[in-house]
């Protein structure tokens, strides 16, 4: 545990996905509203989306989780993280990644990012059917 400010999260995704994912995290893990903030891209211009992310991020360390690398959400997240080393952007958000985030926000940003990438990748696995991996 460091003395640094815990990292906050923003989930930005198409349609209602961000809202749904953040709701799922809260149902499973609890958490206060400003720990993980959902942002939808619906009806927003690129500039509006960047402005919304920046307003939520402020100057504290933040991870912006996005759904799709080839998408306006990721582009806006990348634009908002330019010249902000305290902001990280992770694409391909999933629930294992977000749940682990909520419980390890005290880690330094670089360690946390590496950990979340690993958790997210571990969470994608065939558990039944012909290609199921042995447990």
């Amino acid at each position: 545990m460091s003395d640094a400010v815990p990292v906050r999260g923003i989930v930005t995704a198409h349609g209602d996905m961000a809202l749904g994912m953040v709701d799922a995290v809260r149902q499973i893990a609890g958490g206060t509203e400003d720990v993980l903030v959902p942002v939808s891209n619906v009806g927003k211009s690129p500039d509006a989306l960047v402005a919304e992310i920046e307003a939520i991020a402020g100057g504290a360390p933040v991870i912006v989780f996005t759904d799709l690398q080839a998408g306006s959400c990721t582009l806006a997240a990348r634009l908002s993280s330019r010249e902000h080393p305290e902001r990280a952007v992770l694409c391909g958000v999933n629930l294992p990644m977000l749940l682990d985030f909520v419980f390890h926000r005290d880690l330094p940003l670089d360690e946390l990012v590496a950990r979340l990438l690993a958790k997210g990748r571990q969470g994608v696995i065939a558990v039944a059917g012909p290609t199921a991996e042995p447990r």
Binding site: H14, S45, Q69, T74, R78
Partner: protein, 164 residues
């Protein structure tokens, strides 16, 4: 091949274009026509990362695009040509350069002075004037966010101020 889509979309390269249109049109090249982006290397890098499957992304000023328009129609690439505002498409189309060609309006979002045509399309009076100019130059202008969506006709675009 040809230019398979000419589109005005504020977001330029994004999910609807790359996945929605791309999965049907199979583009091998995206041409972004925008005077500002043509001079901004770091923003170009962002858009390049948003394209998958080895398609190339080219950034041109309006003037450069006008000079290359015919060769883009004739070369072997399947091109999606994008501008982020009506004004750039109008300048591209001057002197009948897009006569007989289709122009698609995609995402243009709410902003001051813009009224709603569809949930993904808000137009200002300047935009409508530009659309009239495009149509007057012989382009077929319609709006559609995705290939399977209902097409919005020219009358709908430049007619009523808003249909709610």
């Amino acid at each position: 091949m040809t230019i398979v889509l000419r589109r005005v979309d504020e977001r330029l390269i994004h999910g609807q274009v790359v996945i929605g249109w791309g999965s049907q049109l199979h583009p091998t090249r995206y041409v972004i026509v925008d005077d500002d982006l043509a001079g901004s290397g770091w923003e170009q890098d962002l858009y390049r990362l948003a394209v998958s499957d080895g398609a190339t992304v080219v950034f041109l000023t309006v003037l450069e695009a006008r000079a290359l328009l015919q060769s883009m129609e004739d070369d072997s690439e399947r091109t999606i040509l994008l501008t982020r505002d009506v004004g750039s498409m109008v300048r591209l189309a001057r002197q009948g350069a897009l006569a007989g060609r289709a122009v698609n309006l995609g995402g243009m979002h709410f902003g001051e002075g813009r009224t709603r045509v569809r949930s993904y399309l808000f137009l200002s009076e300047d935009d409508r004037e530009g659309i009239r100019e495009l149509a007057g130059g012989g382009a077929t202008v319609t709006a559609r966010d995705l290939p399977d969506s209902a097409q919005v006709t020219l009358d709908d675009l430049i007619g009523a101020d808003s249909n709610g």
